[in-house]
Amino acid sequence: MRKALIAAGAVLLLAAGPSLAQQKTIKIGFVTTLSGPTAVIGNDMRNSFELALDHLGRKMGGLPVEVIYEDDAQKPEVGKQKTDKLIESDKVDFISGYIWSNVLLASLKPIVDSKTFLIIANAGPSQVAGEMCSPTVFSTSWNNDQTPQAMGTYMNQKGVKSVFLIGPNYAAGKDMLAGVASTFKGKVVGQELTTWPSQLDFSAELSKARAAKPDAIFVFYPGAAGVQFLTQYAQAGLKDTIPLYTAFTIDETTLPRQKDLAVGVPGAQQWVNDLPNEANKKFVADYMKKHPGMRPSFYGAQSYDAAMLMASAVEATKGDLSNKAAVTAALKKADFKSVRGDFKFGNNHVPIQAFYLQDVVKDDKGEFVLKTVATIVKDNQDIHHQKCPMK
């Protein structure tokens, strides 16, 4: 009896063996913030990534897809831990996500060393676009300073002569403020960096901005901090006296709480929900159908693109991810329909793309929505690509 059982087991194993080898799955790790005050961003990214998989029939290049979502709690050390786990114990083929530049910078080394393909869906620290670029690292977002550079250009167009800059004291905050200052032709009369992410009361900074009497204030406060900044800006009575210009401060994750405070406050972005291309219309419509009462944000759009980019490379290499050079070449083509419209990768694998001016309006249902007002720059490439040794 025992022998028979063993024999039966052996037969089963033999039968299962070859089919297992054929049924390879594409394993994807996705690191984002799923707890704490900024979890709403992580949720939007996960929803959009899942929607992309739905649209792909939950297959890439005919192979089933398995996604492991990990929560970085917005902390670099937690993000690094989760990244290590995805690489070492889950042995994922692709890793994606990353909202925060400081979390990404902490997690980057193990990803690059293990040659796991990384598709960054948000964070854009200048180091990754420059000297730390890698053949296996791609971005479906931007480099941190591109968006504020577009805003600086727009402020020149508006005839702004002097500006006061406020932002959080971490990798992205510094990149953002440097970005505005690099294209803005007027005078930067003051600059304040605040403790991140713990400082949420900006009274001291707003008082200094008022005392400096600038033509305009520029801020970068992603997530809930953006709600707090706009609220305090209005309470300080600055809304009527010093106009505000922003990057990554007003989006669909914060707008339900910013409401009319955000009306008339311009922002720059590479994706807006009303961009008139087919891929985008499908993305936005299906997202709102799947998640009633919610709207996708640019974080989601970038995550959707990340999934589509991966699928395009798996398709092109017929699921053979062992030839790293071939996968890199396939990814670099960006052969998919991006929801932002067409874009191409620069030598550092950061998109060369357009940036739009967005504004907040009330739609016919009385809801606050973002809409595209104008194109600020076309085919914009980050300024760090020359420092990247890749061709």
Binding site: N169, S198, V227, K259
Partner: protein
Amino acid sequence: MTLFIEQSLNGLQFGLLLFLLAAGLTLVFGIMDLVNLAHGSLYMLGAYFAATFAIWTGSFVLAAVLSLFATLLVGMLVEVIAMRRLYGRDHLDHVLATFGLILFFDESVRLIWGPEGMSLPLPAWLNRSVEILPGVQYSAYRLAIIVVTLSVAVSLYLLVMRTRIGMLIRAGASNREMVGALGVNIKLLYTLVFGLGAALAGLAGLMQAPILTVQIGMGENILILAFVITVIGGIGSIRGALVGALFVGFIDTMGRAFFPDLLRMVLSPTAASTAAPALSSMLIYLLMAIVLIAKPEGLFSTSQR
């Protein structure tokens, strides 16, 4: 000069707000010898209650009053259900149990109100700035916070120094066993004190809500500051909490406001603007270290142990 006046007001407002939190914490710590990490959760609940009541009633003031009673009630319930089992135990047990309460409250809030947070809009008469001196504009709401917290501080002082309950509270802070031995209903006193602390935390939370918005975990950052104040002021002392809170509020605000400029005189502008926020957030802890060295019991210690 106008900048200095504005920043002083900012410091005063922040300090007084911290006082509300620290007062509750120091009462509970001093009288019940209970380390309550969940104090920040009560602060969060105050904000959530206020935001919800504001939607139901449409009135900011009414919502604030209702929310105050709601947190008082929750505080007393927590004391009866959970805290009673912790008296006389090791501080480590308190930390563990109240940390568990933080998780419990965070998760309950997530279940009831959802993860995305809420906002508490101000009525028009508060959502603007007023000219307090010629040329000095200041947020009407922050002025209102100063007025409310100052009157709470005064009434708290009167309650503790001039009433029978206050006498028991003070006695409890100095020598708990003796108060119990003299036949005072210590159980009821504890429930009241814990409820009062909760209501103060709730008041701080609901007043911060329009400035900082309402979200899960909002109490955790500010709780650390409240603990620092308790240590600086002396455990169990309301006066110590007030002085400590004002110190911390002023140092934090003034540090953020003027420290970067001072640093720019000695360092390059980029190095200064990067280092300044980190250094100015250290100032508070520096103050705490100095107080601990000079007066380990705190500035106004009540304990005679």
